[in-house]
């Protein structure tokens, strides 16, 4: 299932909760874990100078420096790095999203696990010239599922037993469903299929009455049944629900209600928003808010 995991980390407190999940999964499923750190952005034109993302210092990156950073990461994760863990550490220079995608292209992992961003976004050396965040770019372009752990609450992970799959009935959602089924079957989990009826955007300016809302809920439930139920029967347990509201809020609430260990959703935003993440799409909003790890699938 997860033979090869790429864990992209800032190796700072911001990635601690993601790290907890990364090491947990790697150990539980005997995965190979590649710990990958982009140490800084190239600076000063063609020069060798890089602004180190952790120290914020201007440094000349050479073999010694790379070795030092690698050692620093090893020390940072010392408590996780025992003999039972099969891991490698790689360090790169560049724009984080691009380098993570480049590493994924080389490694072809089954899963990318993305750590939190480095400290205060406003001060981040990456922030200003890059359009859209690392999270958005990686979620949009990765060729494999991407797992995000944003809140500390999402990282207290005791293994997988309940998975929530959020659908908007798109083609990519079907792909995400295939993946959710695969995980649920392999790991013997229950799967809850959920759709949120968007009553904010679809009918802006027009207040639906409750009869209309409930009519639409019934329709959506029928859709879920015909689309997913035949395959859901292969699992030991499943459920299907439709709630109305603001989609990302409803999904987060639903996952909490179900005590989900994992949320799976499709990411199919065509355009990367240059706006702040807080204004981003549904998946980004869910990632930021969820109380459990979120996997985003885009192809």
């Amino acid at each position: 299932m997860f033979k090869k995991i790429l864990f992209a980390t800032s190796a700072t407190g911001a990635s601690d909760h993601a790290a907890r999940v990364a090491f947990n999964i790697a150990k539980s499923y005997q995965s190979h874990l590649n710990i990958f750190h982009v140490l800084g952005v190239p600076s000063r034109g063609y020069s060798q100078v890089v602004v180190d993302v952790k120290t914020k210092e201007r440094v000349d990156v050479d073999e010694d420096y790379t070795a030092w950073v690698t050692e620093d990461i090893r020390t940072y994760y010392e408590k996780y790095l025992d003999e039972s863990l099969n891991y490698t550490i790689d360090v790169a220079v560049g724009v984080p999203a691009r380098e993570i995608l480049r590493q994924a292209k080389i490694l072809k992992p089954d899963l990318i696990l993305l750590g939190g961003s480095t400290g205060d976004e406003g001060e981040s050396v990456y922030k200003k010239s890059s359009l859209g965040s690392t999270l958005q770019k990686v979620a949009k372009s990765a060729n494999c599922p991407v797992l995000f752990v944003n809140r500390p609450a999402a990282s207290f992970w005791g293994g997988l037993s309940n998975i929530v799959f959020g659908t908007d009935f798109s083609k990519i959602s079907d792909k995400a469903f295939d993946f959710a089924m695969k995980v649920a079957k392999t790991l013997d989990c229950e799967l809850s299929v959920f759709h949120a009826l968007d009553i904010s955007a679809l009918h802006a300016g027009k207040m639906l009455n409750q009869d209309e809302i409930e009519q639409q809920i019934r329709e959506s439930l029928r859709k879920i049944r015909s689309r997913y139920e035949p395959r859901l029967k292969e699992l030991k347990g499943y459920s299907m629900d439709v709630w109305e509201g603001i989609p990302f809020i409803e999904i987060v609430k639903y996952a909490r209600d179900k005590q989900a260990d994992l949320l799976i959703m499709a990411h199919h935003s065509r355009k990367i928003s240059s706006e702040d993440i807080r204004l981003g799409g549904n998946v980004e909003q869910v990632i930021v808010r969820a109380g459990c790890p979120v996997i985003s699938i885009n192809k």
Binding site: R44, G45, Y46, S47, D60, V95, S129, R270, K271
Partner: protein, 462 residues
């Protein structure tokens, strides 16, 4: 006195040599060795006799010391109007002195010349416009750099940069295979959003052969995707060469004349092999100067032109917008105060100011484009041109040099700066980092891609 292990008169022309130089962090030992480097005065004088032609001799002779060039030089202005920063003084006290002494100068003097040539002149050529005699100090400094390079007195980063061109025919260690792979990778990443998007490699007889800056391949490959998207939407018949794709020339900044020739000949060979109708280079100023303006002379081309008509990216973009090949969705135009950085290398030195203004008319809501003052051919250098950006030894001087551009931008009140030139883009990025004036900066491609009206048959299926 000995030739150093790192600092010597021999150019670097192997990958191992580059790695060895790189292993000397910040060039610490390199600069220590430079203090011991012997000046080969005979070689220096012989080279001068062979290469100083009548134009340069006349310029050095006829300078009337009127001082008109002083106020034209931004480095004079931002350095407290120090008389030592007057262009005429700078060149007379360096190149002029070497010639007067028939090459009999010492190590200390050569190191002084190195500082003046790379930290007190960006070869922006602005002084040449204001000199009543038309004396262009920038050109003479370019020449002086060649003499210094030959003697081994060149900043560490530029010795490496020139070496990269010798080894990889690119300014960074990007191989031909890396280039093609990265371009294909980028197209793959965007083909869902732009059905039919491809990167045609080595197609003969295409309308356009596109060349890039290796930095795009190495660190900012989205730029390649954006170039592909814009050609695709415009319906262009274009190609990239798998060899000879690098348009830039750090060798030009370094004064490594032989490497300049090698580099530009690799691009010309691609033109001759693929026979495109036109060559278009990316949003880079010095690359255009190297490959289109000066390159033909380095390569000994009698007509002073590249093998096929070669234009700058802004010329193509202006043409595509003016002819309607690319259409802008008016609702997506820039609706905030925005200013434009004129790159010395193709605005002042090649007169492309109309192209960039045409582009601004298409992409900015009327009333929001604010010109810097002065602008167009009178605009100042970004502060990091001519190799200044990348030289660690002269970082302090470079940061002072950024003050002019900082103040020009502040005066416009714009928070967004469009900079269709890699060097300018870098300098503006750095000035925000150093002075924190709260601006954003961008090339044109990413801005234009976001506001295109995409013809129905090129849209993705929903």
């Amino acid at each position: 006195m000995p030739e150093g292990k790192f600092c010597n008169k021999k150019p670097v022309d192997t990958a191992e040599g580059i790695n060895e130089l790189l292993s000397d962090t910040s060039g610490n030992d390199y600069y220590k060795e430079m203090k011991e480097l012997e000046v080969d005065s005979d070689l220096l004088w012989k080279t001068i006799q062979n290469t100083v032609k009548s134009r340069m001799k006349t310029w050095l002779e006829i300078c009337a010391h009127c001082g008109m060039c002083a106020d034209s030089c931004f480095l004079y202005e931002v350095n407290g109007r120090d008389p030592k920063q007057v262009p005429a003084y700078k060149i007379q006290s360096t190149l002029g002195e070497i010639i007067r002494k028939k090459g009999k100068v010492d190590n200390e003097f050569m190191r002084h010349c190195m500082e003046v040539a790379w930290a007190q002149c960006t070869c922006c050529n602005r002084c040449g416009m204001y000199c009543p005699h038309g004396i262009d100090t920038g050109i003479m400094f370019g020449y002086l750099r060649g003499l210094l390079y030959q003697q081994g007195f060149v900043p560490w980063e530029l010795k490496i940069g020139a070496g990269m061109h010798r080894v990889y025919r690119a300014q960074m260690d990007v191989t031909d295979a890396d280039f093609v792979d990265t371009f294909e990778w980028m197209v793959e990443e965007y083909e869902d959003d732009y059905p039919g998007l491809t990167v045609p490699v080595d197609v003969e007889g295409a309308d356009i052969m596109y060349t890039v800056n290796a930095r795009e391949v190495k660190h900012y490959p989205e730029d390649l995707a954006e170039a592909a998207i814009l050609f695709h939407i415009a319906g262009e018949n274009w190609t990239v060469p798998s060899k000879g794709w690098e348009e830039t020339s750090l060798a030009m900044f370094a004064g490594d004349w032989a490497a300049c020739k090698m580099q530009v000949e690799s691009v010309y060979a691609a033109m001759e092999r693929l026979k495109p109708k036109r060559m278009i280079g990316t949003e880079c100023g010095h690359a255009h100067r190297a490959t289109v303006v000066e390159g033909p002379y380095w390569a000994g081309r009698k007509n002073g032109q590249p093998p096929v008509e070669s234009i700058h990216y802004v010329e193509w973009l202006a043409e595509a917008l003016n002819t309607g090949k690319l259409k802008i969705d008016p609702s997506k135009r820039i609706k905030e105060p925005v200013t434009l950085q004129d790159s010395c290398n193709y605005i002042r030195n090649q007169g492309l100011k109309k192209a960039t203004r045409d582009i601004m008319k298409h992409i900015v809501e009327p009333g929001f484009f604010i010109e810097m003052s002065p602008n167009k051919e009178h605009n100042y250098c970004c502060g990091g041109g001519g190799g200044f950006n990348g030289i660690g030894l002269f970082r302090k001087q470079r940061n002072i040099a950024l003050i002019k551009k900082r103040d020009q931008i502040l005066e416009t009140g714009a928070k967004l700066v469009l900079a269709p030139c890699h060097n300018c883009w870098d300098a503006i990025r750095d000035l925000e980092e150093v002075y924190e004036i709260g601006i954003r900066w961008s090339f044109l491609k990413p801005v234009v891609v976001k506001m295109l009206e995409i013809p129905e048959h090129l849209r993705p299926e929903e």
